[in-house]
């Protein structure tokens, strides 16, 4: 039988506010346990939550970026359950009326000729607080509780069950991951748990309308694990059904060591969270003026920018997508472009995606930390375009600028004497010298050895320390030898 895979994702994006969603504590990662937990965070008797306005701004930004509806009035609710790292015995979340509903993300699945486009619809996104951490290691027979994370603002982003493969799920997650960083609401650090995904996975016979019973894979903190976990889960579900066993609704965990998913709790163990509106908080009211104010500060979105790069600059879809992988990358490209001129869009793109990206990658640097400024890179491209230097020399100029040996390409070229020799008379004299000094190679070439020609070109270039225009050298040599 042919099976169709159905996947919906729930993502918890930690919002980049300075303080917690309902208290003034810092949310910085990595502090000693419990030092960033104040009276409100540890739920002392009598304390009360106060909503952090910045968290709401993040939600509005997200809603606008995905074309969703931003609720004029949404409600914070209490989700009640007992756990040692949940200090109040309830989590403040949103239930019936979330701040953001609808909208969606366009994703590209695969690359090159086989790439396909898809639109993933969002159900909702709501604000909530994170719980603390239970530390089971290091305490023999006991559990340590760190409440630094308790109260950290989260945006939970829920999709419709729109994805049909692990590849689509990963493509969606990557696009979302890039977007939340692009609009500056989440740092996207998956290792530190700033961006965590849960995948709801089910299978059904191809063509069947009703959804199969789903199992939820919790806490996928890398795209690779997401792919592996979903692939394993899908195969497991298909096997179960084909062997005559029904799927039971359950929450499962992925074990990266075994590559398998295993059940954590079944539907029977599911909590009754007893949601009800939190009487300590007023309804969240967002007026059109606030939405407009936040919208005014929103950057151009990656999708719009890609279309602009492809349309106005004539870049390929792949290049446009690569250059908009992050807002920093796009900003660098645009700055370089502004300096190099739009006619140089393609070479600027190539340098940014090629030499620069490779070097940054090698040195483990982000583009904002690039030793080479966008203007410096543009200077290199301009000097290639006007034939001042060859592509080969350009790499040396790039290296020199990277090493800080000069303020711009022109200064490096001047200081190093790397200006390309384009004077035909000078090159002709040089070629004559080379021919005279390398009679043996000339002999061999005339005898039919093509390799000998390359040796002659090499000698000519060497004599000018690379400064001669290689094309001119080649043309002249051919002319003289052939004549």
């Amino acid at each position: 039988m042919n099976w169709e895979v159905v996947i919906g994702l729930e993502t918890h994006a930690q919002l980049q506010t300075k303080s917690k969603i309902f208290s003034g504590s810092s949310i910085a990662f990595g502090a000693a346990p419990n030092v960033q937990a104040n009276a409100v965070d540890i739920a002392l008797p009598g304390v009360l939550p106060v909503l952090n306005r910045e968290a709401v701004v993040c939600a509005i930004k997200f809603g606008l970026a995905v074309g969703a509806k931003i609720a004029p009035r949404s409600i914070f609710a209490r989700k009640n359950y007992f756990y040692p790292d949940l200090p109040k015995g309830y989590q403040i979340s949103q239930f019936e009326i979330p701040v953001v509903s609808g909208g969606g993300l366009a994703i590209t699945v695969g690359s090159g000729a086989t790439a396909t486009e898809k639109f993933v619809q969002l159900t909702r996104a709501h604000l909530e607080e994170d719980a603390g951490k239970s530390l089971h290691e290091d305490f023999h027979g006991r559990t340590g509780i760190d409440l630094n994370r308790a109260g950290t603002p989260l945006l939970e982003i829920v999709t419709e069950p729109d994805m049909r493969s692990s590849a689509e799920a990963v493509a969606y997650a990557r696009t979302l991951h890039a977007l939340v960083q692009w609009i500056g609401i989440c740092d996207g650090n998956m290792q530190e748990g700033s961006f965590r995904c849960d995948a709801n996975v089910s299978v059904r016979p191809m063509g069947q309308k009703e959804l199969g019973t789903r199992r939820e894979i919790k806490n996928l903190n890398s795209f690779r694990f997401m792919q592996q976990a979903i692939d394993f889960e899908v195969q497991w579900q298909i096997n179960e059904i084909e062997e005559g066993r029904a799927i039971q609704q359950a929450t499962v965990l992925f074990d990266p060591d075994t590559g398998e998913t295993r059940s954590m709790r079944s539907k029977e163990d599911a909590h009754d969270y007893r949601y009800f509106p939190d009487p300590d908080l007023l309804p969240l009211e967002i007026g059109d003026d606030w939405i407009a104010e936040v919208g005014g500060g929103l950057p151009e979105l990656p999708q719009a920018m890609q279309q602009r790069f492809a349309g106005e600059l004539g870049l390929s879809a792949y290049d446009a997508a690569t250059l908009t992988a992050s807002r920093e990358m796009a900003a660098y490209f645009e700055a370089a472009l502004a300096s190099a001129g739009r006619e140089n869009a393609k070479p600027v793109a190539n340098w940014v995606m090629g030499e620069l990206a490779a070097r940054l990658n090698k040195e483990g640097l982000g583009i904002v930390a690039s030793p080479l400024s966008a203007q410096q890179l543009a200077g290199v491209v301009r000097r290639i375009a006007d034939n001042t230097i060859s592509n080969k020399i350009a790499r040396d100029v790039f290296d020199a600028l990277w090493a800080g040996e000069g303020k711009d390409a022109d200064a490096v070229i001047e200081a190093k004497g790397w200006k390309q020799i384009t004077d035909t008379g000078a090159i002709e004299a040089l070629v004559d010298e080379v021919l005279a000094a390398n009679a043996k190679s000339v002999e061999e070439y005339r005898a039919g050895k093509e390799k000998a020609f390359n040796a002659l070109v090499g000698q000519a270039m060497k004599a000018t320390r690379g400064k001669a225009n290689p094309q001119q050298v080649t043309d002249l040599l051919k002319k003289k030898l052939g004549g």
Binding site: A43, P45, V47, G89, R274, F276
Partner: protein
């Protein structure tokens, strides 16, 4: 000295300002009374002479320099043990917090300390403010100073008994369904529950968040006005605190009552009220007419639904508010348990008393999947109807009056076996909490066995100054509020 214990806050303030009396002398007077009389009354859970006197000395220094002195500087007050007080034990009347020392002050405590008041100690109360007789306190019941075989009312029973017995000239209380007004009535004093949002709830241990409101308890309306001036005000740490200009609640105290329209809800004057209470309330209304007020009949048709709606909403919120008392971070933890689930269940089973458990069970039930709509949502709709009744009634009158409690103080054990009978003790007070309205109780005579009767005044939203005016003019014409129980010493 007996004039000092009966003095108004205004007179005490004047004596302190004139340096005829020091804050230390005044605090010592009350500390000595507490030491002598509290064992019989059990109004205080915690006292600390050193702390109190240190505060009094600081107040004297302020009074001496005059720098930063207020009308309350040097005046002693005691706090219901629901308010967190830095460095003092804050028990909320429960075993689960029996050893809890708060690292921070409640907003109300901060404000009264800031005004220079001197803390005499922490007052007994029904456990987590759940009760109308003070019989649910882990620290034992408070006795009514008018008759120690009777309850003082609840949940602010310690506050009421302390003022009634002149162990303190002023106290804080909280009122979720009548917990300031009912004990004020049963102990013969004046208490005010402000409009919801006027006094910050920060640091006031939550029972039912949408109903809880702190307020002053004292001998007279004038004293309450002075105290409310210091207690009220916006607090950014409480999202339900109202951002309004600071008021002087004394501003209208002396206004004549000629032409005042007093609404008498027919639902408050029906069969539920005891005859002796009725006599005292009727006499008070006659007095008001003498003062120039007119009475008009009004109706609160949904008030019969207030007790059932309250006993859905309050336990629902309480069941969630009390989840934090889990034995993990502070408070009582069972000495032995096999695993996490047992740590929770034993700590809570041993740490909470029966009434608290009953309400947690009710609250958990009404919020459960499949019952939420039938109970909680329905109760919230009733709440809106009740508020609507008041809106309509206040079109006909300036204030509403009636009995605070259907009976005078009852004997210990009289209602504690039947929760529903106990819940009905708050039948006249609960609807104001559901509507968020301000309410007061003031003494208006004595009923059976010479026990005090309370007159309730319900004001319109933010009508505190009006209520205080109405109460004060009555207290200028009568002397019920100056009566003090005899035979204590």
């Amino acid at each position: 000295m007996s004039d000092l214990i009966n003095s108004s806050l205004r007179d005490l303030s004047a004596a302190l300002a004139a340096r005829k009396l020091s804050a230390v002398e005044l605090a010592t007077l009350f500390l000595d009374r507490i030491e002598k009389l509290n064992p019989a009354l059990n109004a205080f859970i915690t006292t600390d002479r050193d702390k109190t006197l240190a505060q009094a000395r600081a107040a004297d220094a302020t009074l001496k320099s005059g720098d930063g002195a207020t009308a309350l500087t040097g005046i002693p007050a005691a706090h219901k043990d629901i308010f967190c007080t830095r460095g003092w034990r804050t028990t909320c009347g429960s075993k689960i917090l029996a050893n809890f020392i708060s690292p921070y002050d409640a907003n109300v405590v901060e404000k009264l300390d800031g005004a220079g008041m001197v803390t005499l100690g922490k007052l007994n109360m029904d456990e987590f403010a759940m009760g109308s007789s003070n019989e649910t306190s882990y620290f034992g019941p408070v006795k009514n100073p008018w008759d120690v075989s009777c309850v003082p009312g609840g949940s602010s029973g310690g506050s009421a008994a302390a003022i009634s017995a002149r162990l303190a000239p002023a106290a804080t209380g909280t009122d979720t369904g009548g917990s300031i007004r009912q004990p004020a009535a049963l102990c013969g004093l004046t208490g005010l529950k402000p409009t919801y949002g006027v006094v910050s709830r920060y640091g006031m241990i939550a029972f039912a968040s949408s109903l809880d409101q702190g307020g002053p308890m004292a001998k007279s309306a004038e004293d309450c006005a002075l105290l409310l001036n210091a207690m009220a005000g916006f607090d950014a740490r409480d999202s339900t605190s109202l951002e309004r200009p600071q008021e002087d609640y004394r501003r209208d105290l002396e206004k004549p009552l000629a032409g005042l329209k007093i609404g008498l809800p027919r639902e408050f004057f029906g069969a539920g009220m005891d005859a002796d209470v009725r006599v005292a309330v009727d006499a008070a209304l006659a007095e008001y007419r003498k003062l120039g007020a007119v009475t008009v009949d009004v109706s609160l048709p949904n008030s019969g639904l207030s007790v059932p709606a309250y006993y859905v909403i309050a336990p629902a919120e309480a069941s969630s508010n009390l989840s934090r008392f889990d034995g993990v971070r502070y408070g009582y933890r069972a000495p032995e348990y096999a695993d996490l689930a047992e740590m929770y269940s034993r700590s809570r089973a041993q740490g909470f008393g029966d009434e608290v458990k009953r309400r947690i069970l009710i609250g958990t039930y009404v919020l459960s999947h499949g019952y939420y709509d039938a109970y909680y949502l329905q109760a919230q709709k009733i709440r809106r109807l009740i508020a609507g009744d008041f809106v309509a009634a206040f079109k006909e009158c300036d204030v509403i009056m009636g009995p605070t409690s259907p009976s005078v103080a009852f004997a210990f054990g009289a209602k504690s076996a039947d929760p529903v009978q106990m819940y009905l003790a708050d039948i006249y007070t609960i609807s104001t909490n559901l509507a968020g309205l301000p309410g007061m109780s003031l003494p208006c005579g004595f009923g059976n066995n010479n026990m005090p009767v309370g007159l309730q005044i319900i004001g319109n939203w933010f009508g505190e100054a009006k209520m205080l005016n109405v109460a004060h003019r009555y207290q200028k014409a009568t002397d019920w509020h100056t009566r003090m129980p005899g035979g204590l010493e």
